[in-house]
Structure formats: structure tokens, C-alpha cells
Amino acid sequence: MDSMTIIAVASIVIAGLTTGFGCMGPAFAEGRAVATALTALAQQPDASATITRTLFVGLAMIESTAIYCFVVSMILIFANPFWNFAIAQAAGK
């Protein structure tokens, strides 16, 4: 295998793994957060405005970890710096 193939295989496999594992953690975390917020809402419906606002902010912060993984895998697939470097090397030869 030449270096281009190795880079392509590594990028694709790692991008899949990154998105897979990166979605798993935030999914569990968001499930727990929503479940706890529902419990809190059931116990104190009067505080629903505060609970909902805090829930949304918290969910967005949890979700951003998944977004980081997504950004990394998108960079690996569509804007891979090593891939561009290898192409430049091959063109320069």
C-alpha cells in the first residue's frame, strides 16, 4: 500500500469511529439530563421556566461534545491536511 491508500483508509476508519463513539457519550448524557429534568418538572411545575432554560443550555453544552467529534470527522474526510500534503508531495515528484 502506498502512503495515499494508508492515509485514506486511516482517515475513513477513524472518522467513523470518532462519530460513533462521539455520539454515544453525549446520547447517554442527554438522556440522563432530560430524564432528570422531567423528574424535576413533575415535582415542581412552577419552576418550569428555569428548569427548561437550564435544560436547554445544558443540552447544548453536552451536544457540543458530539459536535466536536463531528467536526473532527468532517475534517478527516473532506479537508484532510495529511491527504493534501501527500497530494502535494506526489505532484512535486
Binding site: Q43, T50, R53, F56, V57, A60, M61, S64, I67, Y68, F70, V71, M74, I75, F78, A79
Partner: protein, 236 residues
């Protein structure tokens, strides 16, 4: 596949490029500035008001109430900055219903610039509120050992602000692009509606987080203990 609207270039002269991000940012700025100028040209204080004045008043008082909820007790002081952030990010994602439009917040340059504005303005508001020495002392809290960690958190939260907004906007555009090639008829519309919702939520998150950081840097964040509620045996 494009990662950001930076790659659409309308005009180029030497090193100066006019890409889609800049053009749409200017368009948004123009639309919002001219629009609000037109609306506020004839303000009235009596009972008959124009529809648009009511609309803007709802927005301004809504933002003010949200800032107050975060813990900043004088929202008028901060609404110029926080309200602008919110309105720009919200408009940038709302305008995605216009065909041919690319949200400028889908480019890392725009979101990094917005996040840098937050990073610079937080110490400025802090110094304005409690003086240079008082603000610098907050870095030493709770102990001196925490100084490097406070500095790291300052940098990392700026990075997180920028990448969060960029990732959300970029992923929305990219998912719609991928869906258009797989199921081109109805389903992308549903995802566009979902994208509008996440865009509004992200605008809200961005400005609320900026408000939280400002509240942490200023005196106003000192928690005022609510009056202790009478212990009630009932309830469970």
C-alpha cells in the same frame, strides 16, 4: 463538498477576496441596520404604535428579561453587546429559508471572530465593574494554585464557543446537502425546519453563555440568597 461558505468567491483582486461569508455578513448587517433605522424613525409613546415598533419592542424587552434572568441586574448596560450577538446569529440562521443563501455563521472565521469579541469584552466589562485589581484578583480565586486553570478555561471556552456554533451551522448545511442527493423531495424540507430550530437554540445559547461569562466577571454575579422558604412537610 464544501465545508464552509468561505470557498465561494464572488470577486478577487490580488490578495483581496470577496467570499460568500463576507458578502452575506454585509447583507445581514445592512438589512438589520436599515430595517431598524426605518422602524425607529417614527417612534411613538402613545397607545397607537406601528406594528414594527411593537415587534422590535417585544424583541428588546425579551432579550432584556433573559439577560436579567442570567443574573446581570442592569441589562441596559449589556444589551448593546449581547443583543447584537443574539440578533446576528439568529438572523444568520433564520435567513436560511432564502434560496441561495449560506449562513455566514457556517464559517469558522465568523464564529471565531464572534467568540474573540466575547473573550475581549468579558475582561473589559469586569474591569469596568470592579477595577483592574479587583478583576485580576478573580483569577486567583479560590486559591493561587488555580491561576493556570483559570487562564486555560478562558482560552478553552472561547474555542468551545467558536467550534460549537460553527459545527452546528456547518452540520445543518451539510446534512441537507447530503439528503438532497439521497432523498431529494420532501425530507430535506423537514431537516431545514429542524435546522431553523437548532439555529435559534444556538443563537440563544451563544448569547446566554456570553452573558453568563460576563456575569461571572462582574460583581453582579454575587448570588443574592432567596428568602428561605418555610419548610413544608407536604409535597412528597
Amino acid at each position: 463538498m464544501r465545508l464552509s461558505p468561505d470557498e465561494i468567491i464572488f470577486w478577487q483582486q490580488g490578495v483581496f477576496k470577496l467570499n460568500a461569508t463576507i458578502v452575506f455578513t454585509w447583507g445581514l448587517m445592512l438589512a438589520m441596520a436599515v430595517g431598524s433605522k426605518l422602524v425607529t424613525r417614527r417612534l411613538s409613546t402613545d397607545l397607537t404604535r406601528s406594528r414594527w415598533q411593537n415587534f422590535l419592542e417585544i424583541i428588546v424587552t425579551g432579550i432584556e428579561a433573559q439577560i436579567k434572568d442570567v443574573g446581570l441586574r442592569h441589562p441596559k448596560q449589556y444589551i448593546g453587546f449581547l443583543g447584537t450577538l443574539f440578533l446576528f446569529v439568529a438572523m444568520a440562521s433564520l435567513c436560511t429559508v432564502i434560496p441561495g443563501y449560506e449562513p455566514p455563521t457556517g464559517s469558522l472565521s465568523t464564529t471565531a471572530a464572534l467568540a474573540l469579541c466575547v473573550m475581549v469584552s468579558v475582561p473589559l466589562f469586569g474591569i469596568q465593574d470592579q477595577g483592574l485589581a479587583g478583576y485580576l484578583k478573580t483569577y486567583l480565586e479560590p486559591t493561587v494554585i488555580m491561576l493556570p486553570f483559570n487562564l486555560i478555561s478562558e482560552a478553552s471556552r472561547t474555542l468551545a464557543l467558536a467550534v460549537r456554533l460553527f459545527g452546528n451551522m456547518m452540520s445543518g448545511a451539510m446534512i441537507i446537502g447530503i439528503l438532497l442527493s439521497i432523498t431529494p423531495f420532501i425530507f430535506p424540507v423537514v431537516m431545514t425546519v429542524l435546522g431553523l430550530l437548532t439555529g435559534m437554540v444556538q443563537a440563544y445559547i451563544f448569547s446566554i453563555l456570553a452573558a453568563v461569562y460576563i456575569a461571572a466577571a462582574t460583581h453582579e454575579s454575587r448570588p443574592t440568597l432567596p428568602p428561605t422558604a418555610p419548610a413544608s412537610g407536604a409535597g412528597h
